[in-house]
């Protein structure tokens, strides 16, 4: 694997080493207070906890499926915290950390994976769209949205930048490559944030791309940068700059966050069947949370009381996640007709009426029909 071109690691932007040493990068100077770093640490710990609870809930049969973000917390929190309220994110299905940064309640994420809702949050309110399930499709939606933002003149310092999240797997899709091209020729205010977690289900990176992913941007005519995806500070700094460039009319940037999917693709697969455990062990040493802990502790930027408080908050959150998940109400059968069309539709009205009659034909049906 190390001799594969796709796995060369040139120009990896890193501000915080795996050992927790902070090193400024000339192109990405980061001015950050200890309080802000503590805030990022808290984010990382809490989203990892929500994620772990969700995996466990799926194992207990409470969720149909869950796509774990384990290992990718820094890429998501770093980039998510770089966003401003006006910005709009188009995520994929693993981006729970970005959802966290955008203020989406865990109940709404769990509701989707439990299958009791189709996602209840207002994308405009949160600046965070609903999860795209089809690989790469959201990159085009984000590009069209960004072209619309540009058309409306909602750019500049107080304007909107658009960011879209996708994985290494999506870079093989036509949609993603068409999005790159459209964004480039239109100079759209967009950041393509690729979390390269090295695996598209069981397909390793060297079978997906001969060239490093970030270098593809050059062929489309815009900058690409590879950042240490397990370094929350580098992800913050790099994404912040890319968003600023987008707002200021400099067009798209491709950010390749070089990270690793520590868990399964989703709860429906077992990575031990296709992935060497030595590789996973190696990446454990680059854990996104422990390096922030080391940095804070070694520099006396956080005390034991702080770490204990975050742990206690995680415990409390975990308990709340479990309770909230089990309390989510099942939808009523007639709800299937609710969200097919935005406007009234004669077929649906007929089907709804027929189905309501059918449900009402059962004895004691009052509790069923709504």
């Amino acid at each position: 694997m190390s001799d594969s071109t796709a796995h060369e690691e040139p120009e990896l932007i890193q501000l915080l080493t795996p050992e927790g040493e902070f090193v400024q990068h000339p192109d990405y100077p980061l001015d950050i207070t200890p309080e802000e770093v503590r805030g990022l640490y808290r984010d990382l710990v809490l989203v990892r906890r929500v994620d772990a609870e969700a995996v466990a809930l799926q194992r207990q049969g409470e969720l149909g499926l869950w796509a774990s973000l384990l290992g990718q917390e820094a890429a998501q929190i770093g980039s998510g915290r770089a966003l401003r309220p006006n910005d709009m994110a188009f995520p994929s299905y693993r981006d729970h950390g970005v959802a966290w940064c955008r203020g989406v309640d865990h109940k709404q994420l769990l509701g989707m994976f439990r299958g009791v809702t189709n996602g209840g949050w207002d994308p405009a309110e949160h600046g965070f769209h609903l999860y795209a399930i089809v690989i790469g499709s959201q990159t085009l939606h984000a590009t069209g949205y960004a072209m619309g933002v540009q058309r409306d003149g909602a750019v500049g310092e107080d304007g909107t930048a658009v960011i879209t999240y996708f994985g290494d797997g999506a870079t093989s899709q036509g949609d993603t490559n068409e999005a790159f091209n459209f964004a480039a020729v239109n100079n759209a205010p967009i950041v393509f944030f690729c979390q390269n977690n090295q695996w598209a289900i069981s397909e390793p990176l060297e079978r997906q791309s001969r060239a490093p992913i970030y270098r593809r941007a050059a062929g489309f005519g815009f900058p690409g940068v590879r950042v240490d995806g397990n370094d929350v500070l580098a992800c913050l700094a790099v994404t912040r700059k890319a968003l600023r460039n987008a707002r200021e009319g400099q067009g798209p940037t491709l950010v390749e966050a070089f990270t690793y999917r520590m868990g399964a693709h989703t709860t429906s697969d077992d990575p031990s069947r296709y992935r060497p455990s030595a590789e996973t062990e190696e990446w454990k040493l680059k854990d996104p949370i422990s390096r922030v802990w080391s940095y804070l502790a070694a520099n006396d930027l956080a005390d034991d009381a702080f770490f204990a408080a975050v742990d206690a908050e995680a415990e409390e959150l975990g308990e709340r996640v479990r309770r909230d998940c089990r309390a989510l109400p099942d939808p009523a059968p007639l709800d299937i007709f609710n969200e097919v069309y935005a406007e009234p539709h004669t077929h649906l009205e007929r089907q709804r009426a027929e189905f309501a009659d059918y449900l009402a034909s059962f004895e004691g049906a009052e509790g069923v029909v709504r």
């Binding site: 996602g119 209840g120 499709s137 020729v185 069309y341």
Partner: protein
């Protein structure tokens, strides 16, 4: 009231809707500088500028996907696909995204976009450029599919499609672009999901849509001279489908022939025939018959292409056969 072509009716409507609503914008291949492969967008780039009329690269999946994103922002993109054949390249964005975002996103984001595209055949464009695959989209919950057959309907239905909050596939037809008809001067907005009895009759119901609606009207006129009274139903909307209008007509006439510009097996006509037997079984005096294209890839050679397509003659023949099966002496 003025007499204009189907093409002019579409162009006038795009123009007036763009004046009415700043959020209406056009995207597609060759629609700007080139003014459209079929000149529907002639003059619009000059009038509205690049901000409203966007030429796109040759990437249907790309610009349909981008239009979906623009619609999610609240704009009202009207996309032109050069022909419905090219929708195959964009079919994932149309079926998996335009049609499903509203539902899969919990009703939070509607996709108010229109995909305008001509079907056709009869233009010697060969097998890959002459298909009528509106069935694919008519099959999909979450989409609406409109198929106007006259200039007046083209205007009223395009207006309705642009103002509708759901994604609409708007089916035009290469063979209709030059046809002329009266279009009211005032702005008429069609009701989506309504078929029309375009000619009343008592002997038989003849059902068509798009180009076939125009052909069926001519057939009915010709048969009237022979004393056969044909009731013509223009479907106008393939989804939602107005079953009531079809069924009520067949209840009056007792028999039906469907003319369709697609292939017979699993075609639009199959759904119409099923709807008729469900709704008017006891009223039928003869089996419902369908006239469709020969089930072959469309030939390029003119005589072969003509042979593959349904015609006024083939429809007339099947009407005579149906009436003879009914055993009714007509004319």
């Amino acid at each position: 009231m003025s007499v204009i072509t189907y093409r002019q009716a579409l162009r006038d409507t795009l123009r007036s809707e763009m004046h009415r609503d700043e959020n209406v914008l056009l995207l597609g291949e060759e629609i700007g500088v080139f003014e459209g492969s079929y000149k529907i967008t002639e003059g619009l780039l000059k009038e509205f500028g690049e901000r409203r009329v966007r030429d796109t690269p040759i990437a249907e999946e790309g610009f349909v996907g981008a239009a979906i994103g623009a619609a999610m922002l609240g704009l009202r993109p009207v996309v032109e696909l050069m022909t419905i054949n090219f929708s195959l390249i964009a079919i994932d964005q149309i079926i998996n995204h335009a049609a499903k975002i509203y539902g899969m996103f919990g009703g939070q984001t509607s996709v108010p976009m229109v995909i305008r595209t001509p079907g056709g055949g009869g233009q010697q464009l060969g097998a890959t450029h002459s298909q009528n695959i509106e069935l694919f989209y008519s099959f999909i919950p979450g989409l609406k599919v409109l198929a106007p057959s006259t200039p007046a309907e083209a205007a009223a239905m395009l207006r309705a499609a642009i103002r509708d909050d759901d994604p609409v596939l708007f089916l035009e037809n290469l063979g209709l672009y030059n046809t002329k008809g009266e279009v009211p001067d005032e702005e008429v907005v069609a009701e989506i999901g309504r078929a029309a009895v375009t000619r009343e009759g008592t002997d038989i119901t003849l059902i068509g849509y798009s180009r076939m609606a125009a052909v069926t009207t001519r057939v009915a006129e010709r048969l009237a001279e022979q004393g056969i009274s044909v009731e013509v139903v223009d479907l106008r909307s393939l989804r939602p489908l107005d079953r009531e209008t079809i069924v009520e007509s067949v209840k009056r006439t007792g028999c039906a022939v469907i003319a369709e510009d697609d292939w017979l097996t699993y075609g639009i006509g199959a759904e119409i025939a099923a709807s008729i037997q469900e709704g008017a079984f006891d009223y039928l005096d003869a089996p419902v018959r369908r006239v469709a294209m020969a089930e072959v890839p469309m030939p390029y050679a003119k005589p072969l292409e003509t042979a593959a397509m349904p015609s006024a003659e083939s429809i007339t023949t099947v009407i005579h056969e149906t009436l003879s099966a009914v055993g009714r002496r007509v004319g």
